[in-house]
Every structure is written in C-alpha cells, then in structure tokens.
Amino acid sequence: MTESFSSRSLPSSGLSSERCSIEASQLVKRYGNVTAADHVSFQVYRGEFFSLLGPSGAGKTSILRILAGFETADAGTLLIEGQLMDNVPPNLRPVNLVFQSYALFPHLRVGENVSFGLEMKRVARSEIQARVNSALEMVKLLGKEKRWPHELSGGEQQRVALARALVNRPAVLLLDEPLSALDQQLRQEMQIELKTIQEQVGSTFVCVTHHQHEAMTMSDRIGVMHQGRMLQIGTPRAIYEHPANLFVARFVGTSNEITGWIETVTNGTGVMVSELKKPIVIQVSCPESIRRPQRVILSLRPEHLVLSSDECQVPAVANVVTGRVDKVLYGGHETEYVIRLSETVIWRVHLNNAERTRKPFVSGQSVRIGWHAGEGTIFPSEPPE
C-alpha cells in the first residue's frame, strides 16, 4: 500500500532533485490533432529501472524521444541530472537511446558501431579499445567485433545496440521496446541480463514496453500510460495489486470482473449484489470513496480464485460463483481455464499443473469459483476514461 501511495506522488511533491536523474513535469506533445503526451509528469530516481508501460499508441515513444531530445515538448519542463533541457541538442545530452529497431549502422562493423559514440567524443584510441571490449564483454559479444550487423541474429543485434549505448556510460539509458523483436526464449534471458547489467553499471534505465510481464519482472517502478496520459506510477506490485483504475487493472494482468451494487458498508468491508442472472451476495473490501448505493465493478486476479467441480465440496471461502468451462488452454506448467459465468461475463483462471494426480477440468464442465472475502478491487462502474 505504502509504495502504491508514494508512487502516486507527483514531482510537485518536491522530492529533493539530487535523488532524481529525470524530472519531467506537465510535458505536452501534440501531433496535429493527436495528443501524444498530455501533461505527463514523472520522476526517475538515480540508478533505478523505470518502465513506461502502455498499449500501442499510448505515447511512450514520444516521451522517450522528448527525453532524448529528438522532439521538443510543446509545453512542460524537463530536467535531466538537475539541468534544464530546453533546446539542448541530442548530442549534448547525458542520455543514450537504444532504438526500437536497434538502428545499427549497416556500413560499420560491430566494433565500429560500438566505438562510434566514443570517437564522436574524441576519446583516446587506447581508452576506446578498452571500453569497447568491456562493453562487448558485458553483452557477451566479445570476439564478434569484426562481424557486420546483418550477420548477427536478432538477439545479438539487440545486444550490440545495448553495448553501443552503454559504452558511453550515460547517466540515463533510454530503451524503446528493447526486447520486442526477440523470440520468447531470448526474451526471457535478455530480461534477466538487462536487469543484471543495469545493476552492474548502476546507471538509470528508462524502458518503454507494451509487454506487461516484461515490465513487471525488470522494473523497480512502472509508469502506466494510455492515450498520452500517465495513469499510474508505482512498483510492479503496487500497480498489479492496487491498480488506480479499471484500465490499469486490465492492462497489467488478467482481470476477472463482475458488476453489481454496493448495499451496505461496515468499516471497510461491504456487501455487493452481483448483476448475474441469479444475483448472489459478495463480501468485498471497499474504499470510503464509494458512495452507496452505487453501481461498481469488482476486479479479481486469477490467482485469488479457487476452482472446484460442482460435486466436490468447496474449500472454506466466503464468495462463490458458478460457471461453465468454455475453453481449456494447456500451457505446460499451468493450464488456463476460460469460464463463462453468463452470456457476457467471461473469466480466466490459471491452475498450476503440479498435482498430476488431480484430473483436470474439461471443456463444457460446470464449475464453482470461490474466493476469500475482501479479495479484489472495487471500481466505480463508469470508469473516468
């Protein structure tokens, strides 16, 4: 809770700027009638791994390009390492960008690509050599300096791009969808690698992604964006467990939802009547903000749900709904059950495939879903956006 709270605090709340390597406040960027960034404010602390998470078109890249200096914000102020960035050209900013599509120089060999930045900075030949090597070593590409970019696999190219940026020891490293082009296996490895590297060099990482799981596993804090607005900033746990609104709830994970009316609220725990065909009573923990009677949506995370077949007895849980298994998606270590509660209400529940003994549910079978009182989050049923 605390994190989730502190996370909502905006730069205005005067955090001492020597702790921050980026302070963006009220950034606005318009393209014609599209507003790519709509009064976006956030801070990134020194040495932290910060992710901008949002669907395609949310404005993530735009923000990143403003940080890098390729776009100038129409309004708002941006401080990097405490300095105002108004009309500082890209080549004079203490940041480096790893491009979504790597943008490796096709006419330069791997080594030359990596050394480019240093040469531009007129670093001594000898030092260049040393730093390039260490950078390549860090991304496990030592010995491939002489290759041409097109001779590398996607993952290798990605690492070259990384090295090319890291070798400059930037105060802030910006990454635009660094892993989007990789296949799953590589992706998972690179996620860990990136994190490790970041801890090694200890510089600030700002990473753009639309891959929720990726953002969560890598980041210290995440900023969720949508339609140019910053919806929530917080630790992965915070945004997953305490989403600020329905959009975030849906975007950062599976959200099983049920609409209903809050009846009574007694010190934090309320009673809600669902709108299903045969209404059922659900015990929820609901914030004071909720006036009653009010139409609300309860959003539940799959891991809080207990699945059991009709006949066998339900474990001791407060709330139970019934449904019919619509689809069974076998996923190796876990199986996902798509369950239909009513015409319109569809839930998704993951079950760990540990107990090989227990026979799995089959498609078409009717099941019970239960959860403990107070689980899940309540949102007003007409979300702000």
């Binding site: 890098a68 390729f70 050209p89 890209p90 080549n91 004079l92 940041v95 480096n96 960008l97 491009f99 599509s101 943008a103 120089f105 096709p106 006419h107 480019f116 930045g117 531009m120 900075k121 090319r164 400059n168």
Partner: protein
C-alpha cells in the same frame, strides 16, 4: 543483341583503313592504334578525363543537398520536385547552351548584375573559358546525378541519423560518418551516369569553351565526320571505352559495389 553488335562492328572498323574519300577499306591493320601513340592524344584524353572528374565532383556537390532535401520532403512533393528537375531538359540542348552563352557573355546577365552591384567595375571574361565549360557540363548532366542520389537518400532510415545524433555526433559528423557512407551506392551510380557522357561531350566545350581546346569527344567527332577517318575514330573510341571502363571499375569497386544495379539500390 542490339546492344553488343554495334560494339563489334566498331571494333572491326577500328582495324580497317580509310578510303581516299573517307569510307572504309577492309584490310586489317594496327596503324590506327599506332597513330594514337602520340603525346598529343594523351594530353587530349587526360584533359577530358580531368574535366569529366571535376564535373562529376561539382554535380555531387550541387546534387547531394538537393537530392537529400527532396528525399526528405513529403511523399506527394517528391514527384513534383523530380519533374521540376527534368522539365528544363525537355527543351533543346543547343538552345539551352545558347541561353547560357547569352547569360555569360560580356554584356550578359551575370556581368551586368555584377557591375550594377559594384562587385566588379569591368565586365569579366566568363564565356569561352574552362569554367564556362564546367558550368555547362554540370548543368547538362545534373539530373543524372540527382536521380540516383535521390533514390539512395530516400531509402536512408532516419532512425540511423537520430542514433548518430544520440551518440554525440554533430551535424557535420552525421553527414560524413553516416549519411554519405549510406548514400554511397547512389553516389557511385550518379558519378557513373555523369562521368561517362561528360568524357565524350563535345558540343558544350565547343560553344562555351570557344573550341579553343579539344576534348576527346571533339576529336572522335572530328575524325568521324570532318576527317571521315572512321577507322581512326573507332580506334579512338575504343581506347576511350577501355580507359573509362577501367577507371569506373576501380572507382566502383573502391566503393565495394561493382554492378550498376547494386549501385542504385
């Protein structure tokens, strides 16, 4: 077929001898080539190559910014720009050259302006100089440079330029280290398309250069038409072809691209 046959005909002719009144007598001889072993022709060839090289350079200089600009312009505009480049060349070459003569001559546009602006108090001799020839050649072959350059620049991924900027490259550095190398194919193609015809050019040198010197083009022209010595002319042409081909091969391979299509890619 139609492409190679002419070449062989000429090759054959270059080993024949001249009839009394021109024409060809088919008896094999190396005389024509032997005649060419004379410093005179060497100088002519050298001079022509020099001019061609300078022209190519200038075309590059003028053409690159232009090509780059239109390549970066909005899609719709690009075609218009290209048309604008081509239209002047739908008028007759001779007439265009005459127009240049009008512009350059002693009471011509340039001199008048310069005098009026007081940059010079005395009209200067612009026409009938090698610079005039250069001007004419550059003007005449600019499009052949611009088009390939445009094609090359248009393919150039802006992200690369941004990447370079992000890696502390100044604008100049970006140009030299990124844009130029990436546009190299276009540069080479353009150079070839400009260099070849300029080596053989002969009208521009005559009109704008006052025919005070001779280019290989003039010479070939002269041999074929005035002296009616086709064998000698063919021999000359052949020497020219081989020299040009060799030079270009060296140049192109220098850029790691040999095939023309590679080059315009």
């Amino acid at each position: 077929m139609l492409f190679v046959v002419p070449l062989f005909i000429v090759l054959a002719v270059s080993f024949a001898t001249r009839g009394t009144y021109g024409g060809i007598i088919w008896d094999f001889t190396l005389a024509n080539y032997l005649d060419l072993i004379h410093p005179l022709y060497g100088r002519i060839l050298g001079q022509s190559l020099l001019f061609a090289t300078m022209t190519t350079m200038l075309c590059l200089l003028v053409g690159f910014p232009f090509a780059y600009y239109i390549a970066r312009a909005p899609r719709r505009q690009q075609s218009v720009w290209l048309m604008l480049v081509l239209i002047p060349f739908w008028t007759n070459f001779l007439v265009r050259t005459y127009a240049w003569m009008l512009i350059l001559r002693t009471e011509g546009l340039v001199n008048t302006l310069l005098v009026n602006w007081g940059m010079i108090d005395q009209p200067v001799q612009l026409l009938y100089s090698s610079s005039a020839v250069l001007l004419g050649l550059v003007y005449g072959y600019l499009p052949f440079m611009i088009l390939p350059l445009y094609v090359a620049c248009e393919r150039l991924d802006p992200a690369l330029i941004e990447a370079a900027r992000d890696l502390y490259a100044s604008r100049v550095a970006v140009f030299w280290r990124v844009i130029l190398p990436l546009a190299k194919p276009g540069v080479i193609a353009g150079s070839i398309l400009v260099f070849i015809p300029t080596v053989g050019a002969f009208i521009t040198p005559d009109l704008l250069g006052g025919a005070r010197t001779m280019m290989i083009g003039n010479l070939i022209q002269h041999e074929y038409l005035v002296v009616r010595d086709w064998p000698l002319g063919s021999a000359l042409s052949f020497v020219l072809i081989s020299v040009v081909t060799i030079l270009l091969t060296i140049y192109a391979t220098g850029g790691r691209h040999l095939r023309l299509d590679e080059v315009t890619r």
